[in-house]
């Protein structure tokens, strides 16, 4: 039947596109969850005015600028500060007292996107008196997202929503103390990022680069299939020090992965785990 032909073709084309991107640009989407990638590529067809995925493939294979544009569509950054306030409250109450026992702290924020998780963590650590002795590695595969994260400029409209989150997360000050408002944007205090290293890192292809006491990887693993989730959990396990902390998004867990026994819940409801 006609429709089955065209559907079958687009499945083949999608696999070829993902393979071409990997071979040419070393970005590995091969073990991402298929449904979401398919939607994003379909969306990209409209943006690039391509009739078929094959046409899109030809375009991005021969034009690195076009590929960078496609990468923005494939790694849609949807993030917010202090997302799930109760998660951050639990970090404050349950994790921070233990972190305080370390003379120096290394934190890895994996898949930091445009930096919302980084600023949230930095603000929390400053209020707990830990920021000065903490090094934060904030990594992502998307260089444009990393640039945005470094700039620390967010729209005021969003910051209003973050303010409510911050307060519910146990924030101790006025959220406005952390940014300067100008022309509809909030420019966050640069000193929050003094000890933050923003770096290009892929959970799909790169390896561990440092020992860490805490890893935050929130709403990243849901985009991976089980195999790639296991790879990521493997990296986290290798990077974390003895009894180090792993904090995840509100619907993510190591429980059903190949690393179920290597992490134990500290605050299960808030997705806070500890290396066993």
């Amino acid at each position: 039947m006609e429709r089955n032909h065209s559907e079958r073709n687009s499945e083949i084309e999608l696999r070829l596109l993902i393979e071409a991107i990997f071979l040419k640009y070393s970005y590995d989407f091969r073990d991402y969850s298929g449904a979401s990638i398919k939607r994003r590529v379909q969306h990209a067809l409209g943006q690039f005015e391509c009739a078929t995925i094959s046409a899109l493939q030809e375009k991005v294979l021969h034009d690195p600028t076009a590929f960078m544009q496609l990468l923005q569509l494939l790694t849609i950054p949807v993030s917010e500060m202090f997302r799930d306030p109760s998660h951050f409250l639990a970090i404050r109450q349950e994790v921070v007292p233990l972190l305080k026992t370390y003379p120096s702290i290394k934190i890895w924020i994996a898949g930091c996107s445009t930096g919302e998780e980084v600023y949230s963590m930095a603000i929390l650590l400053r209020e707990e008196g830990l920021l000065d002795r903490t090094i934060i590695y904030a990594t992502d595969i998307n260089p444009r997202s990393l640039d945005k994260a470094k700039q620390g400029i967010f729209s005021m409209e969003n910051v209003r929503a973050y303010t409510a989150n911050y307060q519910q997360a146990g924030g101790q000050r006025s959220f406005a103390d952390y940014y300067t408002a100008a022309y509809g944007y909030a420019i966050f205090d640069k000193s929050l990022c003094e000890n933050v290293t923003f770096a290009d890192h892929s959970l799909a292809t790169d390896s561990v680069f440092s020992e860490t006491q805490l890893i935050s990887c929130r709403n990243v693993l849901i985009y991976f299939n089980k195999k790639l989730q296991d790879r990521a959990f493997g990296l986290f396990h290798e990077s974390l020090c003895h009894r180090g902390f792993l904090v995840l998004g509100s619907k993510e867990t190591p429980e059903f992965s190949g690393f179920g026994r290597q992490f134990e819940p500290l605050v299960k409801q808030e997705r806070i785990y500890r290396k066993s």
Binding site: E7, I76, S250, K251
Partner: protein
């Protein structure tokens, strides 16, 4: 159901509902018999609530086991699943669930369109999709894709729906296989299940 012999063999049922949806779903699903073998996957729009009580509410009122759909878990027969509020829910080719935080569709996350479209990809002709009462246009495109890939499409009779906007939007995009009141949809689901057994 005199055309029962022509009904397809279905492996999964997806349902989308919005305003008025809780009541409609209770009316539709409560009478289903114990041991109903087809998996049923539901996206129900709710006002933003980080923790939903849907699974608990329905567990008391339906005879099937009820769960929130967890990321990367396999879809099991005879189970009723609800999408998690705040996340889109998709079905993967291997018939497991995946969650995502892409932008809202028709102001909704989870979006009915995302569930229907991905389930159509995974199940093709062996999917039945049901669109119920609601006050927006979510689900209309998803239902059209289910139909395009050979699945069975059912829309709640707009005259009966508490809010007719969503059923009407679907009828506007593509004529479904059946337009029925809830009782008729219930009978059809039972018939589909009988054929699937």
């Amino acid at each position: 159901m005199n055309d029962a012999l022509q009904l397809p063999t279905i492996e999964a049922i997806v349902i989308g509902a919005s305003a008025g949806g809780v009541e409609a779903l209770l009316n539709l699903l409560s009478p289903l018999h114990e041991g109903f073998v087809l998996p049923i996957i539901v996206v129900l729009h709710l006002p933003d609530a980080r923790r939903s009580q849907l699974a608990e509410v329905f567990a008391r009122r339906v005879s099937m086991p009820v769960f929130e759909a967890h990321d990367k878990t396999q879809i099991e027969a005879g189970t009723l699943y609800f999408a998690t509020p705040g996340y889109h829910l998709s079905v993967e080719q291997d018939r497991s669930f995946s969650l995502s935080l892409e932008d809202r569709v028709h102001h909704s996350r989870p979006a009915i369109d995302f569930l229907f479209e991905s389930a159509a990809d995974a199940y093709g002709e062996s999917l039945a999709a049901v669109l119920l009462t609601g006050a927006n246009r979510d689900g209309a495109n998803g239902l059209a894709k289910v139909k395009y890939l050979g699945g069975l499409t059912i829309v709640q009779d707009p005259d009966e729906a508490q809010v007719a906007t969503m059923p009407l939007a679907a009828l506007d995009v593509r004529q479904p296989d059946h337009i029925l009141p809830l009782r008729g949809i219930g009978r059809l689901l039972v018939e589909l299940e009988r054929i699937a057994c």
